[in-house]
Symmetry: C2
């Protein structure tokens, strides 16, 4: 059965959004819709134009016999900014303050819409980078890591604080927490990471960066490389930041426990190049 252009465009949009960073040969679509390659090319040009104009992504064309088309998520800063500003307002409510200057973010991290949008924005920064794996630490970073991973077509590995029987053999390291200076343990299943992988570290919150440093040490044990570090929220005014070269969507600038005030602003996402 032949498909009309309108049907092709709808199905193609769904298919491409669902297969980010995957090369789809033109013949795949030509077969799927029993249409000529020239029609498919025209369809794809319209899809690309609309994706770019609406600021949610682009299509990359790979020429040649082994070629095809690839969807890359690319949320424009224009689209990202209102979302991040809403997020800042949401975080700035005083009843989020917990003892010790911690913030209650569980409701925000529990909202799949917020997590997915944040994940897409972070993924946009790495959509053309070589990333083999997304790494995070249990528990709170997991949803964001998956949201990023699903846009970068990469698997997620989850570092734990303790080993579980269902993980099989593990590699563990000790590290010093950046803020509390306590020695902690991190464990990763041996099977979960291939040597030489390029890894994007994703987490929900970064204070001094001790946890990220722990993950980096763990990567060394697997001869893997850090391809990037991205966090949803970073705490500013840290005396000694252990990590450089990270990306953040939101920055806490002042947490005043006495006055129950939190100052929240855009992270470095919008200023980094």
């Amino acid at each position: 059965m032949k498909f009309r252009r309108s049907e092709r465009l709808i199905d193609m949009t769904n298919y491409l959004l669902d297969h980010p960073r995957q090369l789809v040969p033109l013949t795949f679509f030509a077969d799927r819709y029993e249409s000529a390659k020239s029609s498919i090319s025209e369809d794809l040009a319209i899809v690309k134009e609309t994706f770019e104009q609406k600021g949610f992504g682009t299509l990359q064309t790979v020429p040649g016999a082994a070629g095809g088309v690839k969807f890359l998520v690319q949320i424009s800063k224009e689209n990202a900014r209102p979302f991040v500003q809403e997020l800042c307002e949401l975080i700035a409510t005083p009843d989020r303050l917990l003892p010790g200057g911690y913030l209650y973010l569980t409701d925000i991290l529990g909202d799949p819409q917020i997590v997915q949008k944040a994940g897409r924005i972070i993924a946009s920064a790495y959509s053309e980078a070589k990333i083999d794996v997304i790494m995070t630490v249990a528990t709170k970073g997991i949803p964001l890591a998956y949201a990023v991973a699903s846009q970068l077509n990469a698997p997620v590995v989850i570092v734990r604080r303790d080993s579980k029987v269902t993980e099989g053999p593990t590699v563990s390291i000790n590290y010093v927490s950046g803020s509390t200076k306590r020695i902690q343990t991190m464990v990763l299943s041996k099977r979960s990471l291939t040597e030489g992988s390029r890894v994007l570290i994703v987490d929900d919150f970064m204070k001094a960066g001790g946890t990220v440093i722990g993950m980096i040490s763990l990567l060394e044990e697997f001869n893997a490389t850090v391809a990037g570090i991205a966090v949803l929220v970073e705490a500013e005014k840290i005396e000694e930041r252990l990590v450089d070269n990270y990306l953040s969507l939101v920055q806490l600038s002042d947490v005043d426990l006495k006055e129950k005030k939190i100052n929240v602003k855009e992270g470095n996402y919008f200023t980094l190049e």
Copy 2:
């Protein structure tokens, strides 16, 4: 600027897929594309027809002044079956067997594409049900819970084994593990669940069902109701199953540690009505 039909269809598809179970007024699209409502209605009819024909969802029309259109995920059994069969094959590889009859599923649960597809299939079974919250237990159920939640437009709450400072005040219960018969603890942040919520429990793996029973007891403390139970993999041949009325995508029928053989078949998803 006016939008052509082709552009409207592409953007609409993206928008609707991104906002499942949310009522979108026709005026929203009419304004977005500076088009007449009659054109928007025609567009939506084409989108609905294509979604249904391709077996990934439907549009529900709510008439009247407060009306609009709602995207519901509805993966057809025809689309679900090949995926679940692939999953069965993937799970049946003998090197997944771990001591104690456990299975190594970390790589499968670490693949966002698999998790998203499984989540969509599970969500299809509840797309018209009243679900306020998705509940899971840390750590391995989290990705699947988010995949389901993002399609049902519901927040996720994560039960933990221990309380953390960043969760604020918590409610905890003790329960008996179904397979090991040991007493265990479950903790949920007090703020994370509203009284009277209708909750869909999602987990990666169910043996006797002790963990699920634990979650149900926890729900009682919050005066919340179980709206459903869904797992990716269930272990069959359990002498005493503690839970009825659950949905599974995959069923383990025989785990032979000596022969290193696993028998895996479709779960009850395809036989339940």
